[in-house]
């Protein structure tokens, strides 16, 4: 009974948060737009208007699956590690290098590229953790610094090692065809990364919520003293989960390159790592909810994009919507009074019937 109310409540809270965010978006749009209704229509219905746009949502969602799961694992140990950004970027660079320089058969080539991405991503995730465990340096600071290092390192590789002078802009050579991840459906650009991403979600969930390693990681995140007292090797698990989280983000970077691009052409950090933080918060650090959260973020982005192209509202509106939703979803107390009243009523009824 009570559980039912809890679940209902979670659902309703998210639904209401989203409605409020949309309402707010509408208000703002009314100010800036000559035809707010049309803009709103594009924002909300636009993404579903044709199959290509639905495809866009899924394409945008795929990398977020990886970074969302990666960040969920990293943050579960209480580590505010932002290195997912650098890990994703360098994962992509590593995959680009493998795709450009290696000669490998179909099937094997992307796997090797992803492994390379995962390795470098794991390393990037690991560095702030080592600094924390050894020197008590706060990961939130060191990881942000590290992102710059990752960026310049990646650009160095692109610029000096696999640079293609023919294109006229900063990019790598074309990826070998053997390395490319095939498309899943012919109409859209949705690629095999979706399948890999969903596998990562399932494995991430089992790892974090159902395995002994995940248990240890979560206990450390909630009370490291307790974990230590119980005999859990705190330092080891912190390193382990930052490594795994970084590796997943790195694989994500590789998958994104091999699925969506034919050569490396990022000019700056892509932001997927930071979006992963957003997704992880929305998913309450539970990989189970990462697909939903990632889908939602992608949907809002595509909607804003459609709106910006078809109407007079700038794309930046999307940041506002995102921010509002996160504030509401993350605030425990929002609507808590309503939930409490419902539960009180249910309990009183149970109480009364027990008395009778």
């Amino acid at each position: 009974m009570i559980n039912k109310i809890e679940n209902q409540f979670k659902f309703i809270r998210i639904a209401i948060s989203i409605s409020i965010a949309l309402l707010l978006a509408f208000l703002i749009i009314s100010f800036v737009s000559k035809d707010p209704l049309f803009a709103m229509y594009n924002l909300i219905i636009g993404p579903f208007e044709n199959i290509r746009r639905v495809g866009n949502i899924v394409e945008l969602m795929i990398p977020l699956l990886f970074t969302g799961v990666g960040v969920s694992i990293m943050y579960s140990a209480g580590q505010i590690n932002m290195a997912s950004e650098g890990a994703f970027f360098l994962g992509g660079v590593a995959a680009a290098y493998v795709s450009v320089t290696f000669l490998l058969p179909y099937g094997i080539h992307p796997v090797v590229a992803m492994i390379a991405g995962g390795l470098i991503g794991g390393l990037i995730g690991l560095i702030p953790a080592i600094l924390f465990v050894k020197f008590k340096a706060l990961p939130v600071v060191s990881s942000l610094m590290l992102n710059y290092i990752s960026y310049f390192l990646g650009m160095y590789v692109i610029h000096y090692i696999i640079f293609d002078p023919e294109t006229g802009y900063l990019s790598s050579f074309l990826y070998k065809e053997t390395a490319i991840l095939p498309k899943l459906f012919s109409v859209t650009r949705i690629h095999w990364g979706l399948v890999i991403g969903l596998i990562v979600v399932v494995l991430g969930y089992l790892f974090l919520k159902k395995s002994k390693w995940g248990y240890a990681i979560r206990m450390i995140g909630m009370n490291p003293n307790f974990a230590q007292y119980s005999g859990i090797n705190v330092g080891f698990y912190i390193l382990l989960c930052q490594l795994i989280g970084g590796a997943i983000a790195g694989i994500g970077g590789a998958v994104e390159q091999l699925g969506m691009y034919s050569r490396f052409q990022y000019q700056k950090l892509s932001g997927h790592g930071f979006d992963g933080v957003l997704v992880a918060i929305l998913a309450n650090y539970n990989p189970k909810f990462v697909p939903l959260a990632a889908f939602f973020i992608a949907y809002v982005r595509v909607g804003a994009d459609v709106m910006a192209r078809n109407s007079d509202v700038p794309i930046e509106i999307v940041s506002i919507i995102q921010a509002v939703i996160i504030v509401f979803v993350a605030s425990e107390r929002f609507l808590a009074g309503w939930k409490h009243r419902k539960i009180v009523k249910a309990s009183q009824e149970r109480f009364a019937s027990e008395e009778a």
Partner: protein, 539 residues
């Protein structure tokens, strides 16, 4: 007609009378309070609770009876779902603790509400920071702290960080903090659970002084002798309901405990003479220096054998915590040796030590004993989750764990609706039962029990003490540290007394020890000779 108006007058008369009583006699009256927590748990069921001005009123009951909840309602921390509160004759609506404090009601919580990274002085003045023009004057805060600590004779280092203080001192800060606020009604939720007998005596003196000055005190405790000694009246809660109120002087301790638990509780424990076997733990010339350079543990040597309970008596803060933490490897940089089955633990990890069937009940339940936000299940399995028996393939065996945990919840009588609730929803005593359930159920060969029954009601304490004896009879070595002298004497086979980080007495036969005798050693008035002390080392 006449009779009707007569009745009418009578009714008014009664109403006036009862209102007068409220005004004059009861400073505080809670009526028909029902509190339902957000998970649907009904913690208070139509509770009526009245306190007279200038009395010390005991609120007692088993773990989870709803005492803290009722007081949180009074302090404005929880809102009742029905019922009314009258204070000084007026109906009031206490929406939050600031309102309560403003009205003159202050509360010292069972669990500390201090900011660990701030100093004592900073914590003392939180919310009432001294200083001019919006500037915070730290000097002033330190001065205020020192003044109040002198006034109430509760010494404290105003500039120490809270996180560096042992529990007893944290509690002291809490009490001082509320005294600083200048309240009329003091709610003390198990204040003595973490105090030493001496500190408790000191506190009681102060409370009596406060009472004479007209303060009203609500006092929660599981220790019957304290209630007899301190309180005027008592109210008993059971399962969220009031089951009785009485004058304390009309009752014996035995009767009070029966009112609480609903059955006779045996305050003494039956046990056979110990049959000590091989040495399990031996500590040799152990010292430890804290970061201020103080030798907190000073050249300790003793051993504990299988099949015996060695009690450590001592005023809290004389190195017991550091000693048990060193044995449990929570503290590093020991000088001297700690041997487990003859092997030094200096290079061993906590996991390795626990694998040798050592269990440890830490005195600090909130830091080491539990994860506040995790479920009861997650709290119970922390030392065994990785073991083969609880894992299948690469995942934890949810079903097996569930059965295991539910069995323990039943065996240790943890009052809860479900193992999947966060442990923070348990009452203080029930949290302690979870810790004890974990540490006693791993088939231990050495039990380090530091304040195992702290905050636990008489019924459950009896259970835990018996369990310690059972573990001993099954061949475990037990090292029992307790501030409760009665407990040390009752449960232990032999007793060691610690004072200022050193062992000052070894009393071979606990049966023949008196509290007075222990007291003399504890306060450093007497000390045994080195020869006598050497006997505590058995190899």
């Amino acid at each position: 007609m006449a009779s009707v108006s007569h009745l009418f007058h009578l009714e008014i008369g009664v109403r006036i009378m009862s209102e007068n009583i409220k005004v004059e006699e009861y400073i505080l009256s809670m009526e028909n309070i029902t509190k339902i927590y957000s998970n649907g748990f009904i913690a208070n069921k139509s509770v009526n609770f009245k306190v007279r001005k200038g009395e010390i009123h005991a609120l007692i009951g088993e773990n989870g009876a709803g005492k803290s909840t009722l007081m949180k309602v009074l302090f404005g921390q929880e809102q009742p779902d029905s019922g009314e509160i009258f204070y000084k004759g007026k109906k009031t609506n206490i929406t939050n603790p600031l309102v309560a404090l403003h009205m003159g009601i202050g509360m010292v919580h069972q669990h500390f509400m201090l900011v660990p990274s701030l100093t004592v002085a900073e914590n003392m003045v939180l919310g009432v920071e001294p200083g001019k023009y919006g500037m915070f004057s730290y000097k002033e805060a330190v001065k205020l702290t020192n003044d109040i600590s002198k006034k109430y004779n509760l010494p404290i280092d105003a500039e120490a960080k809270i996180m560096d203080l042992p529990v007893g001192f944290k509690q002291r800060v809490e009490i001082l903090k509320i005294l600083l606020r200048g309240v009329d009604v003091l709610i003390l939720d198990e204040p003595t659970a973490v105090l030493t007998p001496q500190e408790t005596d000191e506190l009681f003196k102060q409370l009596k002084v406060l009472k004479e000055k007209g303060y009203t005190i609500i006092f929660i405790s599981h220790k019957l002798h304290e209630i007899k000694k301190l309180c005027d009246n008592l109210t008993v809660l059971r399962n969220g309901r009031v089951t009785g109120t009485a004058k304390v002087s009309d009752l014996t301790e035995q009767e009070i405990s029966k009112m609480m638990v609903g059955r006779d509780v045996f305050l003494t424990i039956k046990k056979d003479v110990a049959q000590p076997k091989e040495t399990v733990l031996s500590v040799k010339n152990l010292s430890w220096v804290d970061k201020h350079g103080k030798r907190v543990v000073n050249n300790l040597s003793f051993s504990v054998r299988a099949g015996e309970i060695l009690g450590i008596a001592g005023v809290e803060g004389n190195g017991q915590r550091e000693l048990t933490n060193l044995i449990a490897r929570l503290e590093e940089n020991q000088i001297g040796e700690i041997l487990l089955y003859g092997k030094s633990i200096a290079k061993q990890s906590i996991r390795e030590i626990r694998e040798q069937k050592i269990s440890h009940i830490s005195e600090d339940r909130m830091t080491f004993g539990t994860v506040y936000e995790a479920t009861i299940e997650e709290n119970i399995i922390s030392d065994r989750f990785y073991k083969k028996e609880f894992n299948k393939n690469y995942l934890m065996d949810a079903k097996k764990i569930k059965n295991h945990v539910n069995e323990l919840i039943k065996e240790y009588n943890v009052r809860t609706d479900s193992k999947d609730l966060p442990i923070r929803t348990l009452s203080g005593g029930n949290m302690q039962k979870v810790v004890v359930a974990r540490e006693f159920s791993s088939d231990p060969k050495l039990v380090i029990a530091n304040q195992p029954t702290r905050g636990i009601d008489v019924g459950a304490s009896e259970f835990i003490r018996k369990k310690l004896v059972t573990l001993r009879d099954q061949g475990a070595a037990v090292l029992l540290v307790s501030a409760d002298l009665n407990e040390v004497i009752e449960v232990s086979d032999s007793i060691v007394v610690m004072c200022d980080g050193s062992i000052v007495a070894y009393l071979k036969d606990a049966k023949r020890v008196t509290e007075e005798q222990l007291g003399e050693y504890m306060l450093g008035i007497k000390k045994q000779s080195d020869e006598e002390l050497r006997e505590v080392v058995h190899d």
